[in-house]
Amino acid sequence: MGIDFDLLHKVKGLIECPEPDKDIRRFDANLRLFPPFLDNDVCPITIKNTLLQSCYLRNTEWACGVAVYTGNETKLGMTRGVPEPKLTAVDAMIDKLTGAIFVFQLVVVMVLGVAGNIWKDTEARKLWYVEYPTKGPWYELLVIPLRFELLCSIMIPISIKVSLDLVKGLYAKFIDWDNKMVDQETSTPAHAANTAISEDLGQVEYILTDKTGTLTENQMIFKRCCISGTFYGNEIGDALKDEDLVNAVATRSPDVIHFLTVMAICNTVVPIQRQNGTILYKAQSQDEEALVHAAAGLHMVFVKKNGNVLDINFNASVIQYEVLDTLEFTSDRKRMSVVVKDCQSGKLFLLSKGADEAILPCASTGQQTRTFSEAVEQYSQLGLRTLCLAWRELEEDEYQEWSLMFKEANSALVDRDWRIAEVCQRLEHHLQILGVAAIEDRLQDGVPETIETLRKAGINFWMLTGDKQNTAIQIALSCNFVSPEPKGQLLLINGKTGDEVRQSLERVLLTMRITSSEPKDVAFVIDGWALEIALKHHHKAFMELALLSKTAICCRVTPSQKAQLVELLKSCEYRTLAIGDGGNDVRMIQQAHIGVGISGREGLQAARAADYSIGKFRFLKRLILVHGRYSYNRTAFLSQYSFYKSLLICFIQIFFSLISGVSGTSLFNSVSLMAYNVFYTSVPVLVNVLDKDLSERTVMQHPQILFYCQAGRLLNPSTFAGWFGRSLFHAIVVFVICIHSYAFEKSEMEELSMVVLSGCIWLQAFVVALETNSFTILQHLAIWGNLVAFYVINWIVSALPSSGMYTIMFRLCRQPSYWITMFLIVVAGMGPVLALKYFRYTYRPSKINILRQAERLGGPILSLGNIEPQSRAFEKEVSPLSISQPKSRSPVYEPLLSDSPNAIRRSFGPGAPFDFFQSQSRLSSSYARNCKDN
């Protein structure tokens, strides 16, 4: 920079900046430095001079800057929506049931309250020994209802919240602990940041997934190329190993050499020499990195960048190029170029690379470009990203002339971008097309299998990507997103104007409606622009489409559109899971019911915002099918059981009040009541978090079983009614048996109370035992140990003379009739339940039951209906899809440094060096210019 190092801290100036906003693509500010450094002159500052929050700086020793916005006023802080607290479907259901129970409780209180008052006035006044005052104040009427309210208050189990919090914490821990979800490459374990929503994992209906970095490795590898009409790498799938290409390099075929030169130096990559002699390439774009690596693999090694001089090591000879100008990439231009001077010969070259539609039209007249467009077509069919490489030799005076214009355009204050583009255009013509490079973004391991399994489990996938349509479709095909023809069908929605989009949307809807009855795999494809229009103007139609379609591919969508789509699905009452890996997925992740972040090479931003972070996409299968499913099942049992036990004791209190003059006497003493919820009944059910109805293997083999969780089959009003009925039945059993066997001379209050209570404890132990699917030693300990603990606790309390139940438990345990009564209660209470369960289990089995039986008996089921591993190779030729519109012939090309959402995400990640440092030099040079001008 133009300022001395030791003077740097004395710089004084002023930055005029706009109010904080959330547009991360714009920043229009001015910088004024005070004398003596600069005159009071305005330097424009744009987004290119800006470093966004939580960016990592790379490839520099130092940097100086000024903090413009801080905290929540940063661009990122403004974008960060306030994440709503997430409530799981199970929690919502529990709340609903709690509400229902509350209403029930009110009704009971009202009925009993009225009955109590009537009984009081008709009967109790005759009971002289109760001494009811003949005339009381009016509020006496409220005493009995309030008594019943007090009695019935245990009907809503308070312990359920505590128990649920405990087990949810444990679910989350199980995810953290899971060895099978540790990414072996990076040793990243899965992590559950949100401990409260594990059940929702088992109820996911829609998964919205990002593409790059989530489904794919985001690790670009140069795979194929076509150099002046010759295809390399087609047979073995790797151009670097293609003998022909290696030979061509060895024989110094000029086309190939030029091709490699463009690959090696037409970029903004910075090579860093490491201690051990290897070279580390730091690139903003993964594509550029891939190209440079590939060039190095073909002996065109980009060794050093010394200011503007690049050292290329080709077959042990060093070639030096001086970079004169960089014509940067913009998403409008879709290409980038560099002007270099060969230091030996002094010749000037323009080297370009870019999307085919941006490069091929600039071809020199007379050059046949058909081969190249065919190559592009072929590669994009395979899901490869393509880049066209071209070059041109420049005349010295042509360049000088242009260079002046370029400098002028660069210092323009008005419409700078447009003017630069226009100037660049003047140089990028008559290019000689060298060839097409195809880069593969490899799918992560196990992605197709994971998606296949989850789709079998009834989960619908939407892919939301910033990529182009063709790439997205190809990736979708290779990931089993859509079945290939003839089962699958892709419906395209596009259009630039509202009308076009509407027509297209209506057409797709019509097709959807027709095919919805057929077992056909229909997916719609929409791009960001059409989506914007559809969401804004045809919200209803699009909603219907969302309801109908199981699969969707949305390309070129922005982060906020991703979030909008999540919102849309949420408004259709679907459980959504959003999975992504980068900063552009954060909104979607926060918006969805469940956000899953992949802690990959894009950094941890998504993983930090997410509820769950996993190392690889394939762990999603285990997260949902194993952890989600078990969590749902366990919570379903735990919550209903909590209601059951509270209702049981409450029903008994109600029954007792019927024989105690509807006066609201509590049968149980307060110690027992408190201990019942806290100690006696909560431990066995807590250990139920270890329960597994089906083994993990069976679930993986039959992912369809997840349907039970998705549809909420294990926790809904009707299953709850079953538990309600069971508690009523058990209350009747316990109460009737106890008051009959402890009648007459035995009907002592404290004794009867303990008999009834122990009846309840026995029953609940057996209920838990009957509902437990797999007994581990801990479950046995908890269930039977709890029963023993009940007696021990009561013996201890019975040994205290001051307690109301002094000696009671000892007396009871000595009576044969007590044990006979307990035995009777257990059998009478559990017999019908067992019989019913057995009958259903055997003659009306649910899928879960069948699988359990099969698993236990080792039947042939384990081999039946297996999911054959889908080893669909990426290279495999995918059968063409029927697309209801003529396929657009646009190539698959991801912008290298675009302002597309994808690139924005990049700039957040740690692997992404920031623009600032190239712009730095430009900034300083523009300062210098400004100084000169003044």
Binding site: Q184, S187, E745, M749, L752, S774, T776, G804, L824
Partner: protein, 355 residues
Amino acid sequence: MNSNNTPSSSAGGPGSAAADSTAPPTTRNSKRPKYSRFTQQELPACKPILTPKWVISAFMLVTVIFIPIGVASLFASHDVVEIIDRYETDCIPEDSRKDKIAYIQSSGDKTCNRILNVTKHMKHPIYVYYQLDNYYQNHRRYVKSRSDQQLRDRDSENDTSACKPEDKTANGSTIVPCGLIAWSLFNDSYSFSRNNQNLSVNKHGISWKSDRDHKFGKDVFPKNFQSGGLIGGKHLNESIPLSEQEDLIVWMRTAALPTFRKLYGKIEVDLVAGDVINVTLQNNYNTYSFNGKKKLVLSTTSWLGGKNDFLGIAYLTVGGLCFFLAMVFTIIYLVKPRRLGDPSYLSWNRNPGGH
């Protein structure tokens, strides 16, 4: 239920863990979760399933256990000899029956003679109970109206907050024992004679020993009891400590049901079949205002307690039902066998692709 406790397939945990531990490269991160069977949810578990064999056997087992217990309980209950005499109406002279309440509240002699016929040999000890019907000792106002502190401890005499409205006399002195329960102490009394020979009733040891020792103080004496305008029940001898007022102690053990028996005393001699017992009773207690019944019960006892057929009948019924269920399940099983875990029942196997 299946008691076949072979560990399930998940017991293969350690093996897979060993395989896991060899896989990762040397860069083992400390973040990596530690392996344990608990954390991996791989504790060896037994997964019982409801096979017909086990369910039918379970029901048969219950039958086999329940029928004998039921029979034994019934026999025990039938061995108990019980003489019940309901006297609350008969002990009111014919002319007073129109207004029983007036009769019972009037002062004067309310002696009543009853004759009990012993039909079966009764071995001593014979328990003498009084049974009250439709008497709500479990009423909320009633059951709380006592002060355990006061009963136990002389110094807590004034601890009568729970006893309202029978906590203090009109002039403000504390009642001991306070509360509705004590105040309404049953005051009918019985004396028995056989062949004009007095049958002594042992009234010692009719209450729980623990109550006498720990709940009712030896140095707590009745005070101001039944001295108010309204007399509830029996008067207490103020020179006898509460721990020896066994009628009170028995009465203070409130009954949980509106029909209950309380021990009055024990007859320590055998009664022979054909014996005629004359009972002279003082019919003092007012159950007429609420149509309550009063019964005098003489009963022997068995290992199961008094005469109560409920347990025996319930055991036989439940045992019978279990037998019935076992039979039904067996028949269904034989007539319509159904293979457990048949994959053809899985709908997605039948119709692939559909859910």
